[in-house]
Structure formats: structure tokens, C-alpha cells
């Protein structure tokens, strides 16, 4: 392998010398391969193709033929969206000049600048974009592994897991117990688990009002905590019990076969259990060798380029960039900076200083929406938060409704921005 690497390095230099002067060869268009067609990857592929007007060959590698958004998947659990409304295909991207390959990327040779796919295809690239989302850390919740996900779903990659969780909640016996094992930081969508609790409480309130919800949480505090707690008291009084680390929320074991949860030594029988494990960058990022000990991939704050390789970009959840939360909004925002800088490098188009932003809406109950957001700028060390806002407790119903309606507009906007 080592020998191979060295060998490839040699030819790599020759090849890139040719590529920086594509006119010499006439046709040779620069190639960008994007792995992962989610919030970061689909946006990057779309903007690269659209803005380069065909000057760049853009290939998107995505394992699934249809993308199911995690965003709004909690609203599906709560009965506010149907499952189909979360699904998006890649037809318009393909129509917009992106070559879409429906396959799993299994390896990256950064020296040779190639990506290998499960189907055996080898794709050469000049620039590589990785936006593979997350994978779960083995052993983060004792007793749980991916094999147990049919009994205790994570539902933290949207798809069949989300449908399974919804079914299990609906089938809970009267007065049954729902448990969530909340994840440690950092993880995708900081308010996600708590929005999910709200949506499940909404369903249970209607169908199974004597049911109970327990949340075992290793974190001292969580995103939008005051807003969620206010909402739970208001809409679901007495139903939700949050167990923070002071009460053993961090010392948890699950027993999927027995449907038991052990919190700080105390065994509880549960009827439905949602385990959201600790997370790391999507595996292909580690295979590509761009992650560090944290399990995430450090990037240059001004460009989203991997610190490990100047030809590789890492976007979205997989990246370690600083203050931005791991969200679809953030991934979409980062993808635009990446597309602009890649285009600048490959075609000489103008580049501008990076601007990033994020807003995350959460639904607590029907027409009771809240939001949190911030704008960010690159500093030498990290992407740093510049200004931020958050909904306030005690807001009136009309404002909460307008906030919820805004989130519907955002969902339509971001999915159009990702998929065309």
C-alpha cells in the first residue's frame, strides 16, 4: 500500500500540472466528486453545476435513490406531515447537469485522487466533497448496537427507522412508558431530541393520555431548554420526566430483548425506547483519513476545506468547524461557501468572503413553533458565532403560529435549494 501511495503521488503531481492548464488539452474539464446527497452534498453539487455553467464535471455519489429529510421527521412522528412529504429524489439535480450515481462510496485514495464505489467503479477527481452525515459510535450506550435498532430504534437517520418508531409509539399499551436515551454532545440537530419528545407527547396526549415519557440525558442542559420545558408544562403537564446527569441520566444501560432501561442502577420496564447514540462523522470521512481523534473532520473555517488535504472539502455534520450546530441549515450554508471556493480554484471565478448562518425551528405543539438562530464568520481558529437570537418564553399564540408557518416556508425553501 505504501509503495502504491508513493507511486500515485508521483503521477498525481504530473496529472495536476496538466489539470491546472486544461486549455492545453482542450476538452479536459475539471472534475468534482461529491459523496453524500444530503443537505450539504446535494446543495454543493447543485450550486457547482448551476454556477459553473457546465465548466465543471460534477458527480454526486449517494447510497439511497431517495433522500428522506431528518428535518421535519419529528413532525411526521407527531402526525403533522406524511412520510412522502419528507422524501426527495435526485431527478432535478440530474436534469441540472449533475451526474448522479446511486451507489455507496467505499474508499478514497487521496494520493491517487480517486473514489471507489461498492459497485467497483473508480471515479477520479480534482476536488472531492464529503458530506456523509453521521454514523453512530459503537458502545456509546451500553447494551445497544445497530443490531438492536429494530427493537430500540434510533430514528436519527430518517427512513424506515422513523416509520418504525412512529408505529411503536402508536402501539404502546394504555398507560405505557416511552423512554428516550438522549445523546451526548456533539450530535446532529441539538434541539432534535426535545422536539421529538414534544411530538411524541402530542400523539400520546391524544391517544394514550396516561402514558409516561422519560428522557435519560447525559447533558447538564440542552438546546432551547427553557422553551421546551415551558411548552411541556403547558401542553403535556405531568407527562414528561427529564433525568439529567445529576440524577443518573448519564449512567444508562439498555436491554433491548427484555425491553428494559437501567438508569443509575434502577431498572424500568419500557414499552418503546428511542436510543440516540453518540455520533461521529460518516464513516467514509474516516476511511478517507480526514478525521481526527474526535471522530469529526477538522476544516478550514474560511473555505470548509479539510485541514488534512487541500483537495478535499468536508461539509455538514461530519465537519468540525467551530460554533455552528450540526443542522441541515448549517450544511446548506457551508455548501455554498464550498461551491464558491471550489469554483474559484477550478475556473478562476471570483470568490468572496465566507458568510454562514443558521436557524433551527422546533414545533412544541400544534401552532406552537419556536426558533433559534445565529450568524457566523470565519476566524483563524474556527467558524465563530457573531450574533444570535432565540424565541422567548411567554410569547403570544399568534407569534408562535407565525413562527411555525415560517418553518413551513423554510422547509419548502431549503429543499428547493438542495434538490432544484
Amino acid at each position: 500500500m505504501h509503495l502504491n501511495r508513493r507511486h500515485f503521488l508521483g503521477t498525481g503531481i504530473a496529472a495536476s500540472a496538466l489539470l491546472t492548464a486544461p486549455t492545453v488539452w482542450g476538452q479536459a474539464k475539471p472534475k468534482v466528486v461529491v459523496i453524500g446527497g444530503g443537505a450539504g452534498g446535494a446543495t454543493a453539487a447543485r450550486y457547482l453545476a448551476k454556477d459553473s455553467g457546465g465548466a465543471i464535471e460534477v458527480t454526486l455519489v449517494e447510497a439511497n435513490p431517495v433522500y428522506t429529510t431528518c428535518f421535519f421527521s419529528n413532525l411526521y412522528l407527531g402526525g403533522f406531515r406524511d412520510f412522502e412529504s419528507l422524501q426527495h429524489n435526485y431527478d432535478k439535480l440530474a436534469g441540472g447537469g449533475v451526474t448522479v450515481i446511486n451507489d455507496m462510496a467505499t474508499g478514497v485514495d487521496r494520493a491517487a485522487k480517486t473514489v471507489t464505489l461498492a459497485g467497483g467503479q473508480v471515479l477520479p477527481y480534482d476536488r472531492l466533497v464529503l458530506s456523509p452525515g453521521i454514523d453512530f459510535k459503537d458502545g456509546s450506550v451500553p447494551g445497544w448496537s445497530l443490531d438492536a435498532a429494530e427493537k430500540m430504534p434510533h430514528a436519527y437517520k430518517a427512513g424506515p427507522q422513523t416509520q418504525l418508531l412512529k408505529k411503536m409509539v402508536e402501539e404502546m399499551p394504555e398507560g405505557g412508558v416511552f423512554a428516550m436515551i438522549a445523546p451526548p454532545n456533539p450530535y446532529r440537530c441539538p434541539p432534535g431530541p426535545y422536539e421529538r419528545i414534544s411530538m411524541i407527547a402530542h400523539v400520546l396526549k391524544q391517544k394514550n393520555p396516561t402514558a409516561k415519557i422519560i428522557v435519560a440525558d447525559p447533558k447538564e442542559k440542552f438546546s432551547k431548554q427553557a422553551l421546551f420545558e415551558e411548552g411541556w408544562n403547558k401542553h403535556y403537564a405531568g407527562m414528561v420526566e427529564w433525568i439529567g446527569p445529576d440524577f443518573g441520566g448519564g449512567k444508562v444501560e439498555v436491554r433491548p430483548d427484555a425491553m428494559e432501561v437501567v438508569i443509575d442502577g434502577e431498572v424500568t420496564k419500557v414499552d418503546c425506547c428511542n436510543v440516540i447514540p453518540g455520533q461521529m462523522a460518516g464513516k467514509i470521512a474516516a476511511l478517507a483519513g480526514v478525521t481526527d481523534d474526535s471522530g469529526w473532520a477538522p476544516v478550514d473555517p474560511a473555505t470548509m476545506k479539510a485541514k488534512a488535504d487541500e483537495n478535499v472539502w468536508v461539509l455538514g455534520d461530519s465537519s468540525a468547524q467551530g460554533d455552528m450546530p450540526k443542522s441541515g441549515f448549517s450544511a446548506n450554508s457551508q455548501a455554498k461557501v464550498a461551491a464558491m471556493t471550489i469554483r474559484g480554484e477550478l475556473t478562476g471565478s471570483k470568490t468572496f468572503p465566507a458568510k454562514y448562518s443558521n436557524t433551527c425551528w422546533s414545533l412544541i405543539a400544534p401552532d406552537d413553533g419556536v426558533k433559534v438562530g445565529a450568524s457566523y464568520e470565519p476566524t483563524p481558529e474556527k467558524i465563530a458565532s457573531v450574533e444570535s437570537f432565540i424565541s422567548e418564553t411567554g410569547e403570544d399564540a399568534a407569534l408562535r403560529k407565525a413562527t411555525y408557518e415560517e418553518s413551513l416556508g423554510w422547509y419548502a425553501g431549503i429543499t428547493a435549494d438542495m434538490f432544484g
Binding site: K350, K355, S357, F389, A398, E406, A412, A416
Partner: protein, 234 residues
């Protein structure tokens, strides 16, 4: 709080022009008139709902009797279908004597006799009709002359290429094709109106946390670039 925001917003829009032929009236007085004579039946503002009467947010440029979620009299619906649109002129007439304009209206309001009162009231209503593209006759009210927005700022020629990059950030929420669902459309605005609206957010005269933040970090050139770019979208 709301009250003072409205007054300030109008300063931005109208400018405290001496002897302004352009100003509609005194919005602050209008707010008081609204509270006394209209608010029993109407709400206005971003969160306004229908009550006895329909919400009046965005009334300028709106077709009469056109809110889908309000149950109007047949008479006003027909007038709307015939082409009655709320403008300074038509509103003035309706408020002066509702039944004179819409004979079968359900609005049980005796009318407001004083022309200056009506002008002040409309200056107040105007503050909640903030989409210049909906208001053909808005030019005199929506531009120029605010000291905080010097002619130099309005004269900046935006760079549409830079605008296109900056706009990509906006399009996470505002759709490029101009669809308008929960979040307003911002395509096809005259560049100057766009600049005024963005500065109103930047100066926190328009209340909305997301937009205040988005506009707050943009400098004058960047706002001009965005305006130049969005003006090119249909």
C-alpha cells in the same frame, strides 16, 4: 414598543421631509385613532388575526374582500372581483363613508368625517403594508430623503455577481422562483425599495429577529449588490 417602532418605520419610509408633499399623515396620531375607532373589530400587524372584521395587515394594494379565511359580505366580494383595490384613494373613501363606497358592506362603522384624521389613520395602516411591489403608487412613500439613508447609499451600484453569492444565503428561506409560503417572496422588487427594506431591518426598525440578523451583518455595498441581483429575478 410596537407604537414607537411604527413611528420610526415611517420616518425611514417617508423621511421627516419639511412640508412633505409625500407624507400621507401623522402615523402616531393614526395609531391612536385606530385604537379608538377600529380596533374593536380589526387587528393589524404581523400577527394580526381576523376578528369581527378582517385583518388589515398589508391592506394597501390588496383586492377588496379577498382574504380567503374571512367571511365577507357578498357586496364587498363582488366589488373586489370587479376590481376594487385598496389604495390611498379608495381607502379614504371607504373610511369616510363605508356604505357610500360598498353599499352592502357588513362593516357597521359610521365613517370618519375629518380628512386629516383619515390621512393620519392611513399613514398608520401604511406602515403595515410593506411590500412595495404590491403598491403601485407607493413610490413617494417608500423611498428617498431619510437622513439615515443618504442619497449616496441609494446611489450605490450593486455588483450582481457578488449579489448572486450573497443571495444564495437568502435562498435557504426565500425561494428563487418567488413562491411565497410562510416567508414572503423578495424577487422582482425595484432595487431602491429593496435597499430601503433591508436598511429598515438593519436599523431594527422593521421587527423580525431573523431578518434583523441577516441585514445587520450586511454593509451598504452588500445590500446594494443583493438589490441588484434580486431585481433581475422574476
Amino acid at each position: 414598543m410596537r407604537r414607537s417602532l411604527v413611528a420610526l418605520a415611517l420616518c425611514l419610509a417617508l423621511g421627516p421631509v419639511p412640508g412633505a408633499a409625500e407624507a400621507i399623515g401623522d402615523a402616531e396620531r393614526g395609531a391612536t385613532l385606530f385604537a379608538r375607532q377600529c380596533s374593536a373589530c380589526h387587528q393589524i400587524g404581523p400577527e394580526a388575526q381576523n376578528r369581527v372584521g378582517p385583518r388589515l395587515t398589508g391592506i394597501f394594494g390588496r383586492q377588496a374582500g379577498s382574504l380567503a379565511d374571512f367571511n365577507y359580505s357578498k357586496s364587498i366580494v363582488r366589488m373586489g372581483a370587479d376590481g376594487l383595490v385598496w389604495t390611498l384613494e379608495t381607502l379614504d373613501a371607504y373610511i369616510a363613508n363605508p356604505k357610500a363606497l360598498v353599499s352592502g358592506t357588513r362593516m357597521n362603522y359610521r365613517g370618519m368625517a375629518e380628512a386629516t384624521d383619515r390621512a393620519d389613520l392611513m399613514a398608520y395602516l401604511r406602515a403595515y403594508s410593506d411590500r412595495p411591489q404590491d403598491i403601485p403608487e407607493s413610490e413617494p412613500t417608500a423611498r428617498k430623503t431619510d437622513p439615515a439613508l443618504s442619497p449616496e447609499i441609494l446611489a450605490i451600484q450593486g455588483d450582481p455577481a457578488y449579489g448572486e453569492y450573497l443571495a444564495s444565503e437568502c435562498q435557504t428561506c426565500h425561494q428563487a422562483d418567488g413562491s411565497d409560503q410562510g416567508i414572503p417572496s423578495i424577487t422582482g422588487w425595484p432595487a431602491e425599495d429593496f435597499v430601503v427594506a433591508m436598511h429598515a431591518y438593519k436599523q431594527k426598525l422593521r421587527p423580525h429577529p431573523v431578518m434583523q440578523m441577516m441585514a445587520g451583518r450586511l454593509n451598504d455595498e452588500e445590500i446594494a449588490a443583493l438589490a441588484a441581483y434580486f431585481a433581475t429575478l422574476q
